[in-house]
């Protein structure tokens, strides 16, 4: 098919001449120089390494090889012609791989490259190839933001070894915070819309479903469906009893007052309710303009340049099943396509969230959210927090963890199950995930320590350092903003923020 051919030809290392030689040997030109040309595919040379001259290849296989090469060759010729035409028209190639055309730009620096190179680069690096500016996002040539990376990349390296819904936030898997709150409000069927399905997720969700006596269905998209498409995918589950259904962004943490949201939604009786929240820097997100008395939403403004409103979309919605008429099974953005249409039809209302709110999808926000959540726990259920002598401020420690003497833990620290913290350790504003060991006299602030890590003695870590699974940091090192991928052993200090793979 042409898609397969395109994919093969765009590989930077493919050389058709080499392929021909490998398959069929070569035919020396009459000038007796060493160059060969792509001649007829049936030429069999004296070279015994050519695939087609091996004894194991029978004649029908030889014919198939012949066919294959002819197809590849003709598509190659077509593509080459296109590229030449394009170059004539001034469209350029990505200068990194020189095979794909330029398809996207980084923001804010506007340097260009093809999507394939960008994806590869962004897996381990957040700086522009050319100018080292920190990349905020990428846009296509028309200026629309494109998804690059996918699969919970903002919380890497933690999400490299565990699906994002299962990464613990304050000693509970992120998704479980939401599920448990939903169950309390009377929800009995939860659908997880994922793009990448892992066994771990499936197994854990089965266990949780049994424990909470609810049904958990996993709906997996095989092609990217954007933020609204997954609803269409889960259509049969959602249309069952004509009751309204919640839609939640899995990175959001707040008090989850679902009962009140349901009441508000039923009261106004329209098609959809968006939960909104007040933030300090609304222009980072996208603001909602609505009537204060009724809650009716008038419009949305993406990243306003002047102050419009300080309320943003909190990522929690409740809809009547009639919304499914508006969504087709294709990549659709709920914020850009569905909501504006609903607002025009005056069917969209806003519920103002009280209490804390945070999108914890990035390490820095994860830590901020942790602080907000712990503060909430202090007011709602203070017995959950730890009250020993070495504790300062809000600290949550799992009962199976062990803390040594003369430590100072807190403020805003979460310590997971089976963690061992030796004597004289100072922890501030950080999360230590399960089974890790922090050796004596270390000082750790504003970090996320992954599972099964070992931090040596007299180590200093700060500035949003994130350690993946099974990272070992040797004694007496200084890690300043390092992002360390799983199974890595660090033996040298990291004095300036960087990613270690």
């Amino acid at each position: 098919s042409s898609r397969v051919c395109n994919a093969i030809h765009y590989e930077a290392d493919l050389d058709m001449n080499c392929l021909h030689r490998l398959l069929f040997g070569y035919e020396k030109s009459s000038d007796n120089d060493d160059r060969y040309h792509i001649g007829g595919a049936t030429v069999i040379s004296q070279n015994t390494f050519a695939l087609i001259s091996q004894n194991e290849i029978n004649s029908s296989e030889a014919r198939e090889l012949d066919e294959l090469f002819k197809i590849l060759l003709s598509s190659y010729v077509t593509i080459k012609a296109e590229i030449e035409k394009r170059d004539k028209n001034g469209q350029s190639l990505c200068i990194i791989c020189c095979s794909h055309p330029i398809q996207a730009e980084f923001r804010p620096c506007a340097h260009q490259a093809c999507i394939s190179c960008m994806c590869h680069h962004l897996m381990t690096n957040n700086e522009c190839f050319f100018c080292k500016t920190i990349i905020r996002h990428a846009v296509d040539l028309r200026g629309n933001i494109i998804e690059i990376g996918g699969y919970g990349t903002r919380l890497r390296p933690l999400t490299l070894t565990k699906p994002k819904p299962l990464v613990e936030f304050c000693n509970k898997p992120m998704v479980l915070h939401q599920i448990e709150a939903l169950v309390q409000a009377g929800v009995d069927h939860v659908i997880l819309a994922v793009s990448y399905l892992s066994d771990m997720l499936q197994r854990d969700m089965e266990t949780e479903a049994k424990r909470l006596h609810i049904t958990i269905t996993i709906s997996q998209e095989t092609v990217p469906l954007g933020t609204a498409g997954p609803l269409a995918l889960a259509r049969e589950h959602l249309k069952t009893d004509n009751e309204p259904f919640f839609v939640l962004n899995s990175d959001v943490i707040c008090e989850f007052p679902f009962g009140e949201i349901i009441e508000f939604h039923k009261k106004h009786g329209h098609e959809g309710t968006i939960v909104i929240t007040k933030v300090e820097e609304p222009s980072k997100y996208g603001v909602v303009v609505y009537e204060i008395n009724t809650g009716k939403i008038q419009r949305f403004v993406e990243k306003p340049r002047e102050y419009v409103s300080n309320k943003i979309n909190a990522g929690l919605y409740i809809f009547n099943s009639s919304i499914l008429e508006r969504i087709q099974l294709k990549p659709t953005s709920i914020e850009k396509e569905v909501f504006p249409a609903m607002a025009k039809d005056e069917e969209l209302y806003a519920y103002e969230l009280k209490g804390f709110w945070m999108d914890v999808g990035q390490p820095k926000d994860y830590l901020t959210g942790m602080g907000l959540y712990l503060n909430y726990v202090r007011h709602s259920n203070p017995d959950r927090l730890s009250h020993e002598t070495c504790i300062v401020g809000n600290v949550l420690i799992d009962s199976s963890a062990r803390i040594g003497e003369r430590c100072r833990i807190g403020p805003n620290v979460v310590i997971g199950p089976n963690v061992v913290v030796e004597d004289g350790v100072c922890l501030k504003n950080c999360t230590v995930l399960s089974d890790s060991l922090v050796k004596s006299h270390s000082w750790i602030a504003n970090c996320i320590i992954g599972w099964r890590c070992i931090i040596g003695q007299w180590v200093r870590m700060e500035n949003t350092t994130v350690l993946g699974l099974d990272v070992v940091v040797q004694d007496e090192l200084f890690i300043n903003g390092g992002t360390i991928l799983p199974h890595k052993s660090i033996s040298e200090s990291v004095t300036e923020p960087k990613i270690l793979i």
Partner: protein, 434 residues
């Protein structure tokens, strides 16, 4: 009587040693627990015939210097005197100026040692060589090997390998001359005084000639006067003696030798002197014992008897702790010098640093520097004499905390230089803090 003269210069020298030398002469700086000159005096003492040491410099007699000399007199039981130059007279001018004092009771020769070097000096062997091969009229210079590139930072000696005669001497040449460099240690026979006298007179003549062509109101200029009396040992004397058949070189084997110019070289010298203690003064090194209330010691560590170290602290390798220092619980110190009266509070970590007198390091604080050790891949490599800045940024080096500095808890000081009497507020990396 055999004598030694140690040249200790004056306050204008040793500026690269700041901030440590801001309030104390560089030569009194303690390395491995004892002042630099103390180690040099100990090297001299090893020569059993040596009975008098003269320190020549242009420092005003200050309390630290006087106290040191008084203590040294008592501990070493030989005559030690400080002769103050009225003004800086150059590296050899002082020898000429005090020639009568040096000559009195002098039997044959005397050592001249540059005060800012350190090493395992083979003075006894050098004396024997001088007596056997050089004789009563010659002069011997101690030499060692360096790499080609680094030799240009020192005085280079070109010599005849068979006779050990010095053929040529150049101080800090711009192009490569020889890998053999001068250690700053000399053994002069009495003939040196004649040479110094000739040089002095020649300088006076040059001055007079220059003066006669100058307008009279410039003649009283103090600097001109200084230049007139100044004799430079390397340039005016040694360089001139090379090739005359009177100057010979005694090559040091590859024992430790280094010049002390910067904080980095002090840490390096600290390490080597501690290592030398294993051979010459093992009682000075701290022992790692299994006794319950003693700290953990790794490698060579010097702890002053008045210092107080918590049992959970881990010290070493290559650490010197000064008098009355208090080291708290769970403190880690490595490759560093802690000067007198400091307080290191619980759980702090000090690596590759020098902490000045009376300073305090708060709990959980990290003070870290970067060593500037010689290249381990090159034989005879010496410590790098890097400039302070590199491409506009501060070159990573040993962290130096001046005296009376207060560092709060839980911060990091990385490759920083902190001037004395400062109360820090926050972390700092790669900076000089005034």
């Amino acid at each position: 009587m055999l004598k030694a003269v140690i040249l200790i210069g004056g306050p204008q020298k040793g500026t690269r040693f700041r901030p440590l030398s801001l309030e104390m002469p560089k030569h009194l700086f303690p390395v491995a627990g004892y002042p630099i000159i103390h180690h040099l005096i100990e090297s001299c003492i090893k020569v059993s015939e040596l009975r008098e040491i003269l320190l020549i410099g242009s420092y005003q007699p200050n309390e630290a210097l006087s106290r040191f000399i008084a203590n040294a007199q008592q501990s070493f039981n030989i005559s030690i005197r400080y002769l103050q130059e009225y003004t800086s007279l150059g590296t050899a001018g002082g020898i000429y100026h005090f020639r009568d004092l040096i000559k009195s009771n002098l039997s044959e020769s005397f050592f001249v040692i540059n005060g800012d070097i350190c090493g395992d000096l083979p003075l006894t062997q050098m004396l024997e060589f001088h007596r056997q091969h050089v004789g009563g009229k010659g002069f011997t210079i101690l030499g060692t090997e360096a790499t080609e590139k680094q030799s240009c930072n020192y005085g280079c000696i070109a010599w005849d390998k068979k006779t050990n005669e010095v053929k040529h001497y150049v101080e800090k040449p711009e192009t490569f001359v020889s890998t053999t460099i001068s250690c700053g240690v000399f053994l002069f026979s009495k003939g040196i005084f004649q040479i110094l006298s000739d040089t002095y007179k020649k300088n006076q003549q040059i001055y007079k000639d220059e003066c006669s062509s100058e307008p009279s109101f410039l003649i009283n200029d103090v600097t001109r006067y200084e230049t007139r009396e100044c004799i430079r040992l390397e340039k005016d004397v040694i360089a001139k003696l090379a090739g005359t058949g009177q100057l010979f070189i005694y090559p040091m084997s590859d024992k430790f030798w280094s010049s002390i110019k910067s904080a980095g070289s002090v840490i390096y010298a600290n390490r080597h002197y501690l290592e030398m203690y294993r051979m010459y003064y093992p009682e000075r090194l701290a022992i790692n014992s299994d006794v319950k209330n003693t700290p953990t010691i790794i490698g060579d560590v010097f702890i002053h008897p008045t210092a107080c170290v918590a049992p959970s602290a881990v010290l070493g390798p290559n650490v010197s702790i000064g008098h009355d220092v208090s080291v708290g619980t769970g403190v880690r110190i490595r490759e560093s010098i802690i000067l007198g009266n400091c307080v290191l509070q619980d759980h702090c970590c000090v690596l590759y640093s020098i902490i000045g007198w009376n300073s305090t390091i708060g709990p959980w604080t990290r003070v870290e520097g970067t060593p500037s050790d010689p290249d381990p891949n090159k034989q005879f490599s010496k410590i790098e004499q890097d400039s302070l800045f590199h491409d506009g940024k501060l070159h990573p080096s040993i962290t130096v905390i001046g005296n009376n500095v207060s560092v709060p808890g839980e911060v990091i000081l990385l490759n920083a230089i902190v001037l004395p009497h400062k109360e820090l507020g926050s972390s700092s990396k790669n900076q000089i803090i005034l």
